[in-house]
Subunit: 133 residues, 4 copies
Amino acid sequence: MQRLTLQDAEKALAAGLAKATEIGQPMNVAVVDDGGHLLAFARQDGAIRVSIDIAQRKARTSILMNLPTAALTPLVQPGAELYGLEQTSGGLVTFGGGIPIHRDGELVGAVGVSAGSVEQDVTVAEAAVAALA
Amino acid sequence: MQRLTLQDAEKALAAGLAKATEIGQPMNVAVVDDGGHLLAFARQDGAIRVSIDIAQRKARTSILMNLPTAALTPLVQPGAELYGLEQTSGGLVTFGGGIPIHRDGELVGAVGVSAGSVEQDVTVAEAAVAALA
Amino acid sequence: MQRLTLQDAEKALAAGLAKATEIGQPMNVAVVDDGGHLLAFARQDGAIRVSIDIAQRKARTSILMNLPTAALTPLVQPGAELYGLEQTSGGLVTFGGGIPIHRDGELVGAVGVSAGSVEQDVTVAEAAVAALA
Amino acid sequence: MQRLTLQDAEKALAAGLAKATEIGQPMNVAVVDDGGHLLAFARQDGAIRVSIDIAQRKARTSILMNLPTAALTPLVQPGAELYGLEQTSGGLVTFGGGIPIHRDGELVGAVGVSAGSVEQDVTVAEAAVAALA
């Protein structure tokens, strides 16, 4: 496996921040390694501070589930199969904005974005991940 | 930015307590600074003690989101965009009673009130914030 | 038992704050009830924010031990009988500045003060407790 | 008070990382705002991951104490005045590597560095803070 370097993380971070600037929504962007541990983070001026934690949790959740966090949303609703999942593993986030990063089919890291609407968060996270493709 | 002083916090606190007395519902009232750190707090005789924590979390949530906590209630319901939000950032409160304090357009602090109905909590929080206008 | 009222707590708080002003050291002062639950709190302008938590923990420790926190200091040193005590009960503070409040021989509350030297903290806590004698 | 911007934080971060590269010790570097909330973070390739948390706690401790963390080390030793301090406020770090950032005499943020020896951590933190002078 070829691990994410800080250079990779900075590249993803920069692409995410550029997209956030483009759409006019200040964001918190986090990049974590394959163990879910933080590599790089930035909070843009004006971005809400609740998202410092949420962005990192989205990235970590993506690692632990090996799924984008948006895929979890239907699964954790009342009556759905994984109702209550977010209580586990120290606290997961189950709305969109976290996306795993794969290389040659292997999970090598994840991006988490928070502070806008879920749709905006996903857009920025996709831009960050795309920078490493 | 002009920080909240203890004098400001005491003024807001006194106005909140006076309103609570007026409506006949003993309350917990907390005032925090722009970083979410406690400045002043009072619990009236007869107010439930669970609200010591809730009042402070409402104030802190208002800081982290830069929104009244009442605005979050629809967003965190099952099926809504931020379902599960309250699990993040060490535990948020997503029902009414927390209100941010702005000065010249900048976030300088927040008030959190708890122990009555949500409507009562909001009424008292509004009175506290209004004292600084 | 005659419980502490908010009026009692405010009286102790005011006496503590006045003493802090007199000695020229901005302080955090907390007053808790006989269950260790917060009744009133104030942080003076310029007082360090680490002491928001410490002042409250000192008051709570005084309740849980029914002792001034200064009495615990020798007991928790390496080799002493209660070494490690501060790890228990959610985290205790074992240096001076917390003092229990008694009425007719019964524990009714406690004061916790923090932000100065331990000696200053104790001085302010004593002034706060004395206001209720 | 003039808040730290992300641009300020990135400048401090870059200076810290450059110094870490110069001394040949991969580091974790965190920059927080005046409320102790994360602004920017980077972990260099090869830096131990325990320091993700330590770097952030050092920065937050510097904010809460308004002191470099190195100043706390003698105060928390067995027998010293603040023995046990690190248990408070959600967990503090009391060895060197956290340094507050002041502007016009006001606390506006802090840097936390971790992964090397304490001396190396302090050297890198000083370089980060100096970049904003």
